[in-house]
Subunit: 461 residues, 2 copies
């Protein structure tokens, strides 16, 4: 059986695959550190090297920031082209003292590789490289065209990849868009991610008076900016957790019956999750399930608020200025620009006369959704079930990967597969980040099987 | 006429009185600077010296902080005893670059003495010393007993005077309590201050979850601490500016008809004040006049609020912790402790289950009120009218001088006179603080006349 050949090759190579991943993880490619040029370049070159080893050609593309790695394997004009996206940069390793073993000295214990980037995204990304290797060894050749794109700025906003995309979109034309940067539902249940929420993020600055005033001399007649902002923010949601901004929900696409059904079957222990987060219960919109609230419903969160005196002890001041950072996660078909305008209108209508109001758009990303009926989604689910021995859940991620919606929208790629092999508890962005070797293996298996299915399907067309 | 003799003596001595005040102002007695021992001691000794010059005896009293100056002139067992309170310490001079002339090099221009402390409180306090001198020169002797108390920590909380008061209250027993630390209504209208508001100040710290969470992964089910605190704070006042904390207004003593009348006659240009503060209009409680709101009504102000990410740019975090500093100015007969308990109850009842809440009392001060019908108040008003050529307004100060309520309450002094000679625009605590020579003179006149009236009244008893 074909499966067995893949599985056998992967098992035979697994020790070496792991060691290679550890090599990749040893490169401290923290994109946030501006003096990190050597490590960033080294990381991109290392990844490119592993693709050149297996028949790709490619280069590093220079940008105003960290280089983009773009490698191609295109020998079959008639076959579908897969665009594989991931990133070779990692989050800062701080706080260093909380790591049990050093973040850039990978350590394997309890079946997992511990290192910064093990899960996000080097480990997950590397499953594609090794699947492409095993596939070629077993099948002799690659029946698909592959464009392998890895950036070094995902953790800092993808600014230069966005620019590259605008100018060189035609270099990335493809039929299926693979995204390596998501996660499984739980340690036992793999997943196909059918969408990411979008986001709109903005900042409000209010000034109610020329300057801060003495609360004794002016208390009772002054206009306290922190009071204005708290009153304003409190008005944005009602007691049922519904957002009260006029127009906010207008473009929310209701879940289809298949989506509802898929969500209803997901196991989710609300009490356990609440306990693990240190809450008496899960909160949010009345009338929605927890899964729906955290992945398929739009949200509104204050990310930061400040104004007045925040030092030690008392200061009896009436603050003249107050600030808040706010963001909303968006769902299909909400638009960041349109939702931002709803907020703007609401704020201007609910601020007392004479208050100077500065509302600044910080960033936005369109929600993305993979149609659950897409044949590629079905094939991915079958491949994962064969590889993991367990059917994947169809989930939506509550998060946002800005660059994904940009790539999908600007390149108009018809099909998207968001396949994640990390467990939620793997600690992306946290100390002691890890990636399970078993998941690494099953992911490579899944991809080999899926490439086979896509190739047959493509040839059947 | 008696008046003329006082006025003539004061006019004859005015040049010297001014020069002496400038000497006092040259001593940089900033109490906030912990390395300022020489200047603090020098300032207290200088003031004591001027009282010894005119027949007082006294000493500096050592404390854990800056010395207390206590001087006495008690030759008339049967006569009333006046306790005069003020302070010889001053606020820090920063920002230095905003001063037109150096803060500790007094400069006389446009009829005013410019220096740190000119208004708050050295200039105002020194009117008493010079009134006592002129009085004795004109009348030959002092028909009253005087206890002259000046502290060096008014600007930093009066902690050591409070301690002294607890242990040595009997040394300050007196019949009339004079407070030198208030102001006129405006540059043309002198004032008798009939009360200070009290205050209660506290801090709220909320924790809704173990730690900050990712707004993508948990947005929709997490409990945002900044949302909890803004919702809570917004609930504390209704749209009419009334405070909604149950029990908050319970002990507010309604204004008497005489108090209402006195307030109704005060000139107050709301539009001009609003404009000068940079507001479209004055705000606050519906149904109250501006004068009432800023001096005779209790208030609620957020002095500071903070939580979540407050740096540059976006961060899509759900904050687990949020903080606010809050204070209420209180009016007779509200108690800081009781009002604090009202807030505590309200907060605990309005916080979602499971939120860790820490409510910390920072400080409190009881409101003080001078009965407008007190014969001493009447005599003070008459003296001021004769000296200034203009009847004083009866005002209440919206501010709080903690030590005053402590002195009045603990010593049970039957009568209190809060007489201020500074103009509101004299810039206490600000750069270019000043005190008008004309007001300095009229204040000394007022006090001489008032001592005479009190002495005759006392002998009439």
């Amino acid at each position: 059986m074909a499966e067995n050949k893949f599985f056998k090759d992967i098992d035979d190579s697994l020790e070496r695959y792991q060691q290679e991943l550890c090599e990749f993880l040893r490169i401290p490619s923290v994109s946030a550190y501006s003096e990190n040029s050597d490590a960033m370049r080294c990381s991109a070159e290392w990844l490119l090297g592993r693709l050149l080893d297996i028949g790709f050609h490619g280069d590093l593309i220079e940008t105003n920031g960290w280089p983009i790695m773009l490698a191609r394997h295109e020998h079959r004009k008639e076959a579908p082209t897969l665009l594989i996206y991931g990133h070779y940069d990692v989050q800062p390793e701080v706080p260093l003292e909380e790591w049990k073993t050093p973040p850039f000295e990978p350590s394997i214990r309890n079946g997992a590789i511990f290192a910064r980037g093990a899960n996000d995204d080097k480990g997950q990304l590397y499953t594609y490289v090794k699947a492409l290797e095993s596939y070629q060894r077993v099948r002799g050749e690659l029946p698909l065209n592959i464009i392998f794109l890895a950036e070094g700025e995902e953790e800092i906003g993808s600014k230069n990849l966005l620019r590259f995309l605008k100018e060189n979109g035609d270099k990335l034309r493809s039929d299926i868009f693979f995204v390596s940067d998501s996660s499984m539902l739980s340690k036992d249940i793999p997943a196909v991610t059918c969408g990411f929420r979008g986001i709109v993020s903005f900042e409000i600055a209010l000034q109610t008076m020329k300057k801060d005033l003495h609360s004794g001399l002016f208390g009772g007649i002054a206009l306290n900016a922190t009071e204005v902002i708290t009153t304003l923010l409190a008005k944005m949601k009602n007691e049922d957790g519904h957002i009260t901004i006029p127009g906010f929900y207008d473009d929310v696409r209701p879940l289809s019956s298949r989506e509802c059904e898929a969500m209803a079957h997901l196991p989710y222990d609300e009490a356990a999750v609440a306990k693990s987060l240190g809450m008496a219960m899960l909160h949010g919109e009345k009338g929605c399930s927890a899964i729906e609230k955290k992945s398929a419903r739009p949200t509104l969160n204050i990310n930061g608020i400040w104004g007045g005196f925040t030092g030690e002890g008392p200061k009896t001041v009436i603050p003249a200025r107050a600030f808040a950072k706010i963001s909303s996660r968006l769902v299909p078909n909400q638009s960041p620009e349109k939702v931002f305008r709803c907020f703007e209108n609401f704020i201007r209508e609910n601020i007392p006369t004479g208050v100077e109001t500065d509302i600044r758009f910080l960033f936005g990303a369109t929600p993305v959704v993979t149609e659950i009926d897409d044949p590629n989604v079905r094939m991915a689910a079958e491949a994962i079930e064969e590889a993991f021995g367990k059917a994947p859940a169809f989930i939506r991620s509550g998060g946002t990967i800005h660059i994904i919606s940009e790539i999908k929208d600007s390149l108009k790629i018809p099909s998207m597969l968001i396949l994640g092999w990390g467990r939620p508890e793997n600690g992306s962005h946290s100390p002691n980040e890890c990636f399970y070797v078993k998941d690494f293996r099953n992911a490579i298996r899944s991809l080999c099987l899926l490439f086979d299915k896509i190739a047959s399907n493509g040839q059947d067309k």
